[in-house]
Amino acid sequence: MPAIAAEALAKHFTPEIRAVDGISLSIDEGTIFGFLGANGSGKTTTVRMLTTLMRPTGGHAEVLGFDVVRSPGEVRKRIGVALQEAGLDDIQTGREMLTLQSRLNHLRAADIPDRVNHLLHVVDLDDSADRRVKTYSGGMRRRLDLAAALVHRPKVVFLDEPTTGLDPISRDAIWRYVADLNKNDGVTFFLTTQYLEEADRLAGDVAIMDAGRIVAQGSPSDLKASIGTDVVSLQIEGGADELARAEQAVRRLGGIEDVRIIDDAVIVYVREGSSAIAKLVLLLDEASLRAREVTLKRPTLDDVFLQKTGHHLEAEESASRPPAKPDRGAES
């Protein structure tokens, strides 16, 4: 039995607003699933349906074998959820909030103080536990929200953009909790994110959402391999005219899989990228065009995203990007 299964799941707010437009998923127990998508692609709507907060307008979904519409109570008992906007009570202290959360999840009263202390410790909030939540920073709020999602030891945890807006240290901390819980306790995670690196690092499988549909699904390495080529990016001097001419020019090279114009660059998908670079620059030169910058890299999830959706993930620019794969780049 998969931990999460969906079939043709849909939410049409109106006939025009198709936030989620028929997605199918099967997520194995004990895995981390990355749900990638730009703003407004339908990630939160999907999470709200899978966690019983919103009724689908089409299709079915099950969590641990329980239908989210027919047995919402059974689903709620087994899941932990941290929504995109950390829903906290400013007037309680962190400890009080976790205690109430434990009680409402019907933990045994005698176990609650220990459980709350343990969770506060796990998310590094021991020192602030008795301060009102109102005084917490953004990172602390996220961590408290995560702890609140875990009080009842759920087998499946949904995290909606758990690291958006966090600094690299807080982000690393959240990644560590997720990875540990998954490894040590076999918790299944459904994690939405706008950070490709997050999905790359944590998730065994990812789905890429675009405008309410899943446009690609698989393990990050399979997805990258599916591109099957290197990626050469040529930033062209000049305007739209020059870009269009550059695209024409590079197409004359043999063995090209695909060429796209993204922003001010011509992106060339080609095998044996390193030997293609010199020829590409030469072709540009023949057309009296200059490249300001030329880079060559193995495909990343960003390239997969780009190829499947035709656009970058905006948030990626602001994400912390520790040295990923070293770029074999060359300045011209």
């Binding site: 906290l88 007037i91 959360q101 409402l104």
Partner: protein, 254 residues
């Protein structure tokens, strides 16, 4: 059932803690009823007492102050719920296996407890200013329970509006309902001096029986008929408002 009650209790304690931590929000709830109590008794108490053949107009007005306090104070449940909804905390509560009704009943019960405290405070002040209490100490207890029960029922109006609209302004509208209800009751004068049309309206107004029940406890002692009338009216109001709350809750969580 036990689960429902214990979940409700935890949520009620949370709501009361919230009140204790924001005492400034209670100032108006305490000040306004006392202000009108003092002004009404001070300005017209002497003539009104004589005109309506009421011996002790302070005692006569005491239930009105209590009702006014309750109407003001019992908007808190709805208001707090709007805040929870806006902060996203209500979603977090909805995601627990807790009975949906507990989620709202906890806050309503907190309003019940707060209005009990306000009722007691008003009775004590009334006693100091000579309202007396014909039914004795046990009457005080019954009056306080009556105040709490009315507060809980009444706060359902603001709660239903809060759940339905998610708007803080709407949640406060519960207070507006109070004015017609109280002016169409024998709040300021005995029903006997009313014009016939007003008397008819007062007869079908549940607040009439609540005022009467409270007033008899203060002014004339134990009257089982009047007590039954008061509690039956509160129960009727409660059933009505809880139905609204359940309908609104369903529309929010569907």
């Amino acid at each position: 059932m036990i689960q429902l009650l214990s979940d409700t209790r935890y949520l009620m304690i949370r709501a009361l803690r919230e009140t204790a931590r924001q005492p400034a929000l209670e100032i108006g709830n305490v000040f306004i009823p006392f202000f009108f109590f003092a002004v009404t008794v001070g300005a017209i108490g002497h003539v009104a007492g004589r005109a309506f053949a009421v011996d002790n107009y302070t005692a006569f007005q005491l239930p009105v102050a209590v009702l006014q306090a309750i109407a003001g104070a019992s908007g808190t449940a709805g208001f707090g719920t709007v805040t929870d909804i806006e902060r996203g905390y209500f979603d977090k509560l909805l995601l627990t296996p807790t009975n949906r009704f507990s989620l709202v009943l906890g806050r309503l019960a907190s309003d019940g407890v707060r209005t009990m405290a306000l009722t007691l405070l008003i009775v004590v002040v009334g006693l100091i200013f000579g309202s007396g209490m014909k039914s004795g100490p046990f009457g005080v207890i019954v009056l306080v329970i009556m105040g709490g029960a009315f507060g809980l029922s009444y706060s359902g109006i603001g709660m239903a509006l809060a759940l339905k609209t998610g708007s803080a302004q709407a949640a406060q509208l519960g207070f507006l309902v109070f004015f017609p209800l109280v002016f169409l009751s024998p709040a300021f004068a005995p029903k006997e001096v009313f014009a016939p049309w007003l008397r008819t309206l007062a007869t079908i107004n549940p607040v009439t029986y609540i005022v009467q029940g409270m007033r008899d406890l203060v002014l004339s002692g134990w009257d089982i008929g009047s007590l039954v009338g008061a509690f039956a009216s509160i129960a009727g109001l409660g059933i009505f408002t809880m139905t609204l709350v359940l309908l609104a809750l369903r529309s929010r969580t569907a």
